[in-house]
C-alpha cells in the first residue's frame, strides 16, 4: 500500500485560505477579462476548463461531444459577458451553460436525457479500459470501483466538487441542475457513503 504520496500536504486552515484565494483570483481575472485583458482570459480558460469538463462528462455525454460543449460555453461567455453582473457568479454561469449544452447534445443525438437519479454507466466509452489502466494502481482502482457503487447523483456531485477545489458550491448546484440548498446535505450523505464503502475495503486505509 503506497499511501504517502496521496496524503494531503496542507491542513484545513491552509486549504480554506487557498480556496478563498482561488475564488478571489477567479473574480479578479474575470474583471480583467471584462476590461479587455486577453491574457486574463487565457488564464481563466486554463483554470476553469477542467471543472467544466467534469460537468459535461458527468452527464454521460461522449468525449468528443464534450469538447464541443466546453468550447461552446467559452464562446457563449464571450458573447454575453456583459450579462454577468457579479464576477463571483462566473463559474456558476459557465457551469450552467455547459450543462445545458451537454443535455441539448444528448437530445440531439437521439438519446433520452439522463434522469436526475438514474443510474447509468459513467464514461460509457472508457469504463473497460479504465480498469485495465488502473490495474497496477491498487489504491486508485479501489476508489474507482467503490465510487461506482454510489448513486449516480453522488458520482456526479463528487467528481465535480473535487475539481472545484470546493470553492463555489452554488456554481456546482446550478451546473448539476440540483437545488442550491440540497448541495450541502447531498455532499454530506455522499461523502459519508463513500467513506463507509471505502472503510469496508481491506485494501484501503485512510491516510
Amino acid at each position: 500500500m503506497t499511501t504517502s504520496d496521496h496524503a494531503p500536504a496542507n491542513g484545513p486552515p491552509a486549504r480554506s485560505a487557498a480556496r478563498d484565494e482561488r475564488r478571489e483570483r477567479l473574480s479578479r481575472l474575470f474583471q480583467d477579462v471584462l476590461a479587455g485583458d486577453r491574457r486574463a482570459l487565457d488564464e481563466l480558460i486554463v483554470e476553469c476548463t477542467p471543472m467544466l469538463w467534469r460537468v459535461a462528462r458527468s452527464t454521460g455525454l461522449d468525449s468528443s461531444s464534450c469538447e464541443d460543449v466546453v468550447q461552446h460555453a467559452w464562446l457563449t461567455l464571450l458573447n454575453h459577458r456583459d450579462q454577468i453582473r457579479a464576477p463571483g457568479a462566473l463559474l456558476g454561469w459557465l457551469a450552467t451553460v455547459t450543462r445545458r449544452e451537454a443535455l441539448r447534445m444528448f437530445t440531439a443525438q437521439g438519446r433520452a436525457r439522463p434522469a436526475e437519479n438514474e443510474v447509468f454507466e459513467p464514461l460509457p466509452d472508457a469504463s473497460r479500459s479504465v480498469e485495465d489502466m488502473l490495474v497496477a494502481d491498487e489504491r486508485r482502482n479501489v476508489l474507482w470501483r467503490v465510487i461506482h457503487k454510489l448513486p449516480q447523483r453522488c458520482v456526479q456531485l463528487l467528481q465535480v466538487i473535487a475539481f472545484n477545489d470546493r470553492a463555489d458550491y452554488a456554481a456546482i448546484a446550478v451546473g448539476l441542475g440540483m437545488p442550491k440548498g440540497s448541495i450541502g446535505p447531498t455532499r454530506g450523505r455522499c461523502l459519508a457513503k463513500l467513506r463507509a464503502l471505502l472503510s469496508a475495503q481491506p485494501d484501503w486505509s485512510q491516510s
Binding site: 496521496h6 480554506s16 476548463t49 464514461l123 463528487l158 455532499r187
Partner: protein, 168 residues
Amino acid sequence: MNRSMDSAVPDMYGLIDDTDISILDEVADLYSRVDPVPDDLIERIRFTVALEEIDLEMMELVDETALHAGARGEDRSRILTFAAPLITLMIRVIGVTDDTVRVDGWLAPPAAHRIMVCIGESRLNCTADDEGRFVVEQMPAGRAQLIVGIADGPAEPGNLFATPAVVL
C-alpha cells in the same frame, strides 16, 4: 473510520473534515487520470476565443479553378487559392453528397498550422500535418470561412489569417 465531528469544520454548506477533503483530492486525482481534459482542448479553446477578440489578417482569393466535370458530384469540384503576404492556402473542394463537401487543404510554407472552418455558428477544428496538409472529410456545403492559426504561434494579430467567406 468514523466521522469525527471534532475535526470537522463548517464551510458554507455544512461540515467537512480533513478526511473528506483528502478523499475529494483523491477523487480529483483519479478522474484526471482516467478521463483527463483532452490534450489540445485548452489550446483549441484559446484559439477559438482569440478569433472572437482580435482582428484577423484577411487572405485574398487569388485563383479559382473549376475541375472538369467527371464522376457524379464533381461538377462542384474546384480548387481555390488564397494568399496573404506570409502564407498561402490552397483548397480542393469536392462534392460528397448533394449537401456536403470534402475539403483537402495545403498550406505553404508547410507546418502544423491550426485550421478552423466557420459555417454559420458552427466551427470545425483541425490541425495540418507537418507538410501543411489537412482534410475535412465532410462538411455542409454552403458559405464558409477558413481561419488559419500559425503553428505554435500565440493567438494574436499577425498569426491569424482568414479567408473571405466563400461558397464551398
